[in-house]
């Protein structure tokens, strides 16, 4: 008996590929987020190695509502903050900066000053990253070593300890 072999067309149907591709594009476009993926890093001190910061040993920066600042209880323009801190750190490079924010201020007010303090490294080094200033010991001064952001509860605890609460 003569059996005729039937040729089966072996091709992949690609007609709907364009539709699937566009559907995928639309899906990714809608669900993917071009969200901000950067920000200011902030390490909280561990309780075991937290040095006791005495207020008189620190530079106290108080952020007022509206973004104005008081440094060591004196009003100062924002431009004057880093030069003031530099002058103080040249005398004592370990001096911490305490950043206190008024509860009526906004988060934006606080973060602009925190950003300004973090910019010290950029401002105190030249384009090649070499230090421009030295402290009283002759060591290069390139950054603020400690920026502390106490919370209202911590401030109240200190006041209570000092019997001022």
């Amino acid at each position: 008996m003569n059996i005729k072999k039937k040729d089966i067309a072996s091709e992949i149907f690609t007609g709907s590929m364009a539709d699937i591709s566009f559907l995928l594009i639309i899906y990714f476009m809608i669900t993917s987020a071009f969200s901000a993926t950067r920000g200011l890093d902030f390490a909280l001190p561990e309780e075991t190695d937290t040095p006791e910061i005495k207020q008189e040993d620190a530079i106290e920066v108080h952020v007022m509502p509206g973004g104005a600042i008081e440094v060591d209880k004196k009003g100062l323009p924002k431009d004057g903050l880093l030069p003031y801190v530099l002058e103080k750190l040249q005398q004592n490079p370990d001096k911490p900066v305490i950043l206190r924010t008024d509860p009526d201020a906004t988060y934006g007010d606080m973060i602009s000053i925190f950003d300004l303090l973090r910019r010290a490294n950029e401002e105190w080094t030249d384009d090649l990253g070499n230090p421009m200033y030295k402290d009283v010991n002759g060591d290069p001064l390139v950054e603020i070593k400690t920026i502390s952001i106490p919370t209202q509860r911590e401030i109240e605890n200190i006041w209570n300890l000092l019997g001022m609460g």
Binding site: A18, T31, A33, G39, L40, Y107, M110
Partner: protein, 147 residues
């Protein structure tokens, strides 16, 4: 003069589509590589900073909505969608649980720049009480002119 009358030859007005598949696949590859689900979709204006460090992926997120949306606090593990919390104690419970799983767990604070600072202070305090070590304050890039 003999005129040869033929049918008007239509000018080919076809759009070249042969490279469309390449473009489409290129776009798909781009989206697949950059794909990241936003766990917190709260619309807000982030504060602008000059210093901006790369935020680790899958860090836990705590968001504070703008004041006109009640400064609502939402929390997310970084993998699930953010859920609103009604009290600050819930933030402490959430953060403590995350820190118990991983003591070096990073947290992202996503707050509106007009959020009242006392609200932010409460959250920072909750994170400190929960022994969180690393916080990233989400921000937009400050332009050189604004600097």
């Amino acid at each position: 003069m003999a005129l040869i009358r033929g049918r008007d030859r239509g000018t080919g007005a076809a759009i070249f589509t042969a490279s469309m598949a390449d473009i489409v696949f290129l776009l798909i590859v781009f989206f697949v590589l950059t794909y990241k689900v936003e766990v917190d979709k709260t619309q807000m204006k982030l504060p602008e900073t000059w210093i901006r460090k790369k935020i680790p992926e899958k860090a836990a997120v705590i968001s504070i909505a703008p004041p006109d949306r009640g400064s609502t606090i939402r929390v997310s593990t970084g993998e699930e969608m953010a859920l609103p919390v009604s009290t600050i104690e819930e933030v402490i419970t959430f953060a403590s649980t995350e820190v118990a799983k991983n003591p070096n767990r990073e947290f992202i604070l996503k707050a509106d720049k007009n959020a009242p600072y006392d609200r932010v202070d409460e959250v920072l305090d909750a994170l400190k009480q929960s022994k969180v070590k690393y916080i990233f304050l989400l921000s937009e890039q400050l332009t050189a002119a604004e600097k």
